[in-house]
């Protein structure tokens, strides 16, 4: 009896280990979508991507219109991956995509857009990453869906088909 109980206990021990590790694994996902309803958008001043004209955030967003803010950079690989979803969303009539070019080299950024096409209706510069902080962004890429100057949806990390469907549903 004694001899058989040892393997049993040891196996049970390892099974427990497995379950704990398995659960722990789920905790560690880096990108967790966060629904952040009805939060006012921050105010800030920025400048256009290709000209040096300064603009205040109040002038960018009109009421009763959907905007998708996308923080991106040419050096960020997930941005490259999510680009086709932006192109897809660009076909939606009542949505404007606004890009914030995060800590980037303008030459590289232009090359990036030349290669992959430009889904943005407007692009603004965020050279030192300060605007991203105003938005409470964790990094690049990150997207915010805005309606009536309020954040209705936030996507941390690259967009995927699920998010695209959800965004399409939200703006219907």
């Amino acid at each position: 009896m004694k001899i058989k109980s040892v393997p049993l206990i040891v196996s049970l021990l390892f099974i427990t280990f497995f379950i704990i590790f398995f659960k722990g694994l789920k905790n560690s996902n880096i990108y967790v979508p966060n629904i952040n309803y009805e939060k006012e958008i921050p105010s800030f001043t920025t400048q256009f991507f290709d000209t040096n004209i300064k603009i205040n955030s109040d002038e960018i967003f009109k009421e009763d219109y959907y905007y998708l803010i996308n923080i991106w950079s040419s050096w960020c690989l997930p941005c490259r991956e999510e680009h086709r979803f932006l192109m897809e969303l660009n076909n939606e009539n009542n949505l404007k995509i606004i890009g914030f070019n995060y800590k980037d080299n303008i030459k590289d950024a232009k090359k990036f857009l030349d290669e992959l096409k430009n889904p943005y209706s407007k692009i603004f510069l965020d050279k030192d990453g300060l605007i991203a902080i105003e938005w409470g962004a964790y990094g690049v890429p990150e997207s915010f869906l805005i309606y009536n100057k309020k954040i209705i949806k936030k996507v941390i990390g690259p967009l995927n088909t699920n998010f695209v469907d959800e965004i399409k549903r939200l703006i219907k």
Binding site: S28, I30, V32, G129, I133, G136, V140
Partner: protein, 139 residues
């Protein structure tokens, strides 16, 4: 002769069991004493009693909050909801910057002041400490 051997074996088993129990006790006890809990500024605002234990605070370094003199560095850690002042007189890691995630280890003086003894470095600029991320998401 046989009796002696059995006795010796019994003695051995008891010895091993005692040592095992003792070491488990030791490990658990010092685990309890030396574990460092992680808290966000908001959690600190809400705690009822102060303990003299080391904790870690994580959040973002608030913009324009860093000031420095010969002996110490002062800055504010924020989770965009609550803030806490940090006084620190040690070495700063490379990636310590305003608007970036930070984890500071030290002791609470009161609800608004934190004496940091260590600022933890990370290797990667775009890295967000998971604790900070979780704390920021809760708001």
């Amino acid at each position: 002769m046989y009796g002696r051997k059995v006795k010796l074996r019994f003695f051995f088993i008891v010895l091993i069991l005692t040592i095992l129990a003792l070491s488990i006790y030791l490990v658990l006890k010092s685990l309890e004493e030396n574990v460092v809990y992680f808290q966000s500024p908001s959690e600190i605002k809400n705690i009822a009693e102060f303990k003299e234990t080391k904790i870690r605070i994580g959040g973002m370094v608030k913009k324009d909050s860093v000031s420095i003199n010969m002996n110490e560095i002062n800055f504010i850690i924020t989770d965009f909801k609550n803030e806490i002042n940090v006084i620190y007189s040690g070495a700063v890691p490379n990636l310590f910057e305003e608007g970036k995630g930070v984890v500071a280890e030290g002791f609470l003086k009161d609800r608004n002041f934190f004496m940091a003894s260590k600022i933890l470095a990370k290797h990667d600029e775009n890295y967000m400490p998971p604790e900070v991320k979780a704390a920021l998401e809760e708001k």
